[in-house]
């Protein structure tokens, strides 16, 4: 009798079953990725198709001398360094708060993940109004309720950076919270019961048990947050458009400007590849560190 069985050692039937998926992946992922890689070696401007030509490493040379690229790179790293730890810490704290079976907690949990359901562009437009110097709610609260000076949120470099960080945190804390909460729900109860019997305090239990047991989840969370923060675009596009000046321009935003404002596709492709490379390296390093932490825990 004919047995239809997938054999990873190269069985033809298995490959036949995998073929549709491989074709779809090739068309949707591999070809564009390779095409973009090829494009980065070309002087390719959509506005002047007749002048497009192979330029070797010219785009790479241009990138090395591009001050704007360096600023955008610095800004991207700045967002990662500030946003990722803050969102993870605040997200974990929120998850711990919501990890109690109290009346109405389900409603709270549902409300807490609302920011994830709103389009970043819409969020950006709303935050733009909230951060308005004159009429914004945030400055109104600061000046009328807390008696602080109004903050130049969107018209000073530091203010704009702060505003984008706040908005990014508002958007992403629920994501961290949700994954952490799922992790908390799956922690083995017996271990905590045993610790209680042994007289462990709440802080001890959190730092000695909860956190180490959550490390697999947190590893994923930190990696995903790092990756998405490097790609930060929507929030910048809708809130500050990279400004004032280049204060909030990230690599992704710069790639967008190059690709869809200047239509310099070759250079934009290279910048995008550099971003992918940086993300890969940073994530690998992070993964190594986090794995070491896990082993230690």
């Amino acid at each position: 009798m004919f047995k239809l069985r997938y054999r990873p050692d190269g069985g033809l039937t298995g490959w036949l079953f995998l073929t549709p998926l491989i074709v779809v992946l090739a068309v949707l992922a591999l070809i564009p990725v390779l095409y973009a890689l090829g494009l980065s070696f070309f002087d390719y401007n959509v506005l002047r198709p007749q002048q497009n030509k192979f330029s070797g490493l010219a785009n790479f040379n241009a990138m090395l001398q591009d001050e704007r690229f360096r600023t955008a790179l610095f800004n991207s790293f700045r967002y990662v360094v500030v946003c990722v730890p803050l969102s993870v810490v605040l997200g974990v704290l929120a998850a711990l708060l919501l990890d109690h079976e109290l009346p109405g907690m389900r409603i709270f949990r549902a409300l807490a993940i609302t920011p994830m359901m709103v389009m970043p562009l819409v969020v950006g437009l709303n935050f733009r109004m909230l951060f308005d110097y004159q009429d914004g709610l945030i400055n109104w609260l600061l000046s009328r309720v807390l008696w602080f000076e109004r903050v130049h949120w969107l018209d000073s470099p530091d203010g704009a950076f702060g505003a984008t960080v706040i908005m990014e945190l508002w958007c992403t804390i629920p994501f961290v919270m949700m994954l952490t909460l799922a992790g908390l729900k799956n922690l083995p109860v017996e271990v905590f019961d045993a610790a209680k019997v042994d007289g462990a305090g709440k802080f001890q239990m959190f730092f000695r048990l909860t956190l180490p047991l959550l490390m697999p989840v947190l590893t994923v969370v930190i990696l995903l947050r790092t990756l998405t923060t490097f790609k930060l675009f929507d929030q910048i596009y809708s809130l500050t458009e990279g400004g004032p000046g280049s204060a909030t321009e990230t690599i992704s935003y710069y790639a967008y400007v190059l690709g869809f404002k200047r239509f310099d596709m070759g250079y934009a492709a290279l910048i995008s590849y550099v971003l992918v490379f940086i993300i890969a390296v940073v994530c690998l390093v992070l993964l190594k560190i986090l794995q070491a932490e896990r082993k230690q825990a």
């Binding site: 070809i31 564009p32 990725v33 095409y35 973009a36 494009l39 002087d43 390719y44 401007n45 959509v46 506005l47 002047r48 198709p49 002048q51 241009a62 001050e67 704007r68 389009m119 970043p120 562009l121 308005d132 110097y133 004159q134 130049h152 969107l154 018209d155 000073s156 470099p157 998405t228 790609k231 930060l232 675009f233 929507d234 596009y237 809708s238 500050t240 458009e241 990279g242 400004g243 004032p244 000046g245 280049s246 204060a247 992704s252 935003y253 790639a255 967008y256 400007v257 690709g259 869809f260 404002k261 200047r262 239509f263 310099d264 596709m265 934009a268 492709a269 995008s272 971003l275 992918v276």
Partner: protein, 529 residues
């Protein structure tokens, strides 16, 4: 007139398709790296011929051979051939059909009854529904409009054209973008001859609209010009004479200083002297008005950037100085904020498009400055009185359309004097481009402040100008300028350093595009006395 080949397999077309798809996919890859797609969806509105009353059909007599034909395609083909023949004859004899009135244009388009046109429009100022309905009713041709947000027009049309989508017959194009789009547009020179398009009637400031490399690719539709708006009551309170507003930028600054932070309305609210447009996207327009009157130019004749000349630096220093008499958040003030602030009665001076006057004087719901403001042409600087022509919009017929003549007639209808007056007085933001419209008494009474705005517009529009340059790289130059101006305004860099950096970026952009190669056409210097 180029006819498209019938849809058959062509290796060249196939390869072109693959290449464009590849670029699109590559672009998608970039966007994917950037996060979610961000483009605002374009909105579509159709006024169908069928939807209009039966009277519309009656009003569009199918008397021509094309109209009698049963299908729109047949009508198009027949009339296209007729147009080509007519155009050839007209070009040869130097005579043409006069389309001086709206009625004549509508009459000429009636032979296409039953056809449909698709028009892309600037999202913030689409044609009035009444204007579209009138066209449909009178000609029997339905007109579908797709509104594209103004800050996305360049990207969307570029992608539309380069991907050979061919879904527009008529497009609204910002005048500085004709260099980029000319390969995808019909040169209207012959149709202009056939239908006697009288360019002499255009206001001087708008005569460059739609022109590129000796071709004429657009019918000027929306004539943009900046004016200086000032509060007449406040000017009086600080010792000025509303009948003689400040004539130079230095005078403007001195008076704005006197107004700034004063309680000029007696209600405890501090006045803002001058509201500058310094938000990153589009701030180059605010700088360009100063560059013009300070005697600057974009380039020298060899395309070497002249933006960082002494005149350019002085212009930027002056523009940045206005921040001191502006609102606390000057650096984030954008185009829409200016109207809001002026209509709310918060500011002494703004520099804005002429449309604002119509809103300020006739919008009784939102305006607190009715009869309390004046308009004047932008003041003179060290370079004398020289105005900046910010581009405006022209209507262009795509190369891919099979209804070139019909699309052309529709463009003429939308841009003709009567339609222009109707749209301008309704406050749509679409301003006339023709002298005849500005001389129309109805227009003079209902447009702008209803008093002197039309005179100011004519005066400003007929003098010396600094225009944008309709080269394909203009959008890239503009983006690079915006960035550095924003840095200068927000104190991240000094004006001279900012403009030097802009000059470097511009050189790189133009060098890549081959402007410094031997034999490249020279730049037409604009600041020659």
């Amino acid at each position: 007139m180029r006819e498209r080949k019938p849809a058959s397999f062509s290796r060249r077309r196939f390869l072109k398709g693959v290449a464009v798809a590849g670029v699109a996919i590559g672009g998608t890859g970039i966007l994917a790296a950037c996060g979610d797609a961000t483009a605002t969806p374009a909105t579509t509105n159709t006024t169908s011929a069928a939807a209009t009353t039966a009277a519309a059909t009656t009003a569009a007599p199918a008397t021509t051979a094309a109209g009698a034909a049963t299908t729109a395609a047949a009508a198009t083909t027949a009339s296209s051939a007729a147009t080509t023949a007519a155009a050839t004859t007209a070009a040869a004899t130097g005579t043409g059909t006069s389309l001086k009135t709206k009625a004549a244009i509508l009459d000429a388009a009636k032979k296409y009854s039953g056809s449909k046109l698709v028009l892309s429009v600037v999202g913030t100022s689409p044609p009035l529904k009444a204007v579209i309905d009138e066209w449909t009713k009178a000609t029997g041709v339905s007109l579908e409009t797709t509104a594209i947000p103004p800050n996305e027009i360049f990207e969307k049309l570029t992608l539309n054209f380069t991907s050979d989508a061919g879904n527009f017959d008529l497009v609204s194009v910002t005048s500085s973008n004709f260099g980029a789009f000319a390969p995808y547009l019909t040169d209207l020179t012959q149709l202009n001859t056939t239908y006697n398009f009288d360019e002499v009637q255009l206001v001087n400031m708008f005569k460059w609209y739609g022109k590129y490399n000796g071709g004429s690719y657009g019918i000027p539709y929306d004539g943009d010009q900046y004016m200086l708006f000032y509060r007449t009551d406040w000017l009086k309170k600080v010792g000025g004479d509303p009948a003689n507003p400040p004539a130079t930028w230095d005078d403007v600054f001195a008076i704005a200083q006197k107004m700034h932070n004063q309680d000029l309305d007696g209600n405890g609210t501090k006045a803002i002297g001058f509201a500058p447009r310094m938000s990153r996207v589009g701030t180059w327009q605010f700088f360009a008005t100063k560059l013009a009157s300070f005697g600057g130019d974009w380039f020298d004749e060899n395309w070497q950037p002249a933006i960082n000349s002494a005149a350019g630096v002085a212009a930027l220093e002056y523009a940045a100085k206005l921040k001191s008499v502006g609102p606390a958040n000057s650096v984030s003030i954008g185009f829409a904020d200016l109207d809001k602030m002026f209509l709310a009665g918060q500011v002494g001076f703004i520099e804005q498009f002429s449309t604002t006057a119509t809103k300020a004087q006739f919008d009784k719901t939102n305006s607190k400055v009715i009869d309390k403001f004046g308009v004047m042409k932008l003041p003179a600087g060290p370079g004398g009185s020289r105005q900046y022509s910010p581009g405006g919009v022209s209507l262009a017929v795509t190369k891919s359309t099979k209804q070139q003549e019909l699309a052309y007639l529709c463009a003429r209808y939308l841009a003709c004097e009567e339609t222009a007056v109707t749209q301008a007085v309704a406050g749509t933001g679409v301003e006339p481009t023709m002298v005849t419209a500005y001389n129309n008494p109805d227009f003079q009474a209902k447009w702008g402040d209803g008093k002197t705005s039309w005179k100011v517009a004519m005066d400003e529009g007929s003098g010396k100008i600094l225009k944008q340059i309709p080269i394909p790289e203009f959008a890239a130059l503009q983006e690079a300028l915006d960035l550095k101006l924003s840095e200068a305004y927000s104190g991240q860099t000094k004006p001279k350093d900012a403009l030097d950096s802009v000059a470097n970026s511009w050189k790189q952009i133009l060098d890549k595009a081959g402007y410094y190669a031997a034999g490249h056409a020279k730049y037409e210097v604009q600041n020659k006395s």
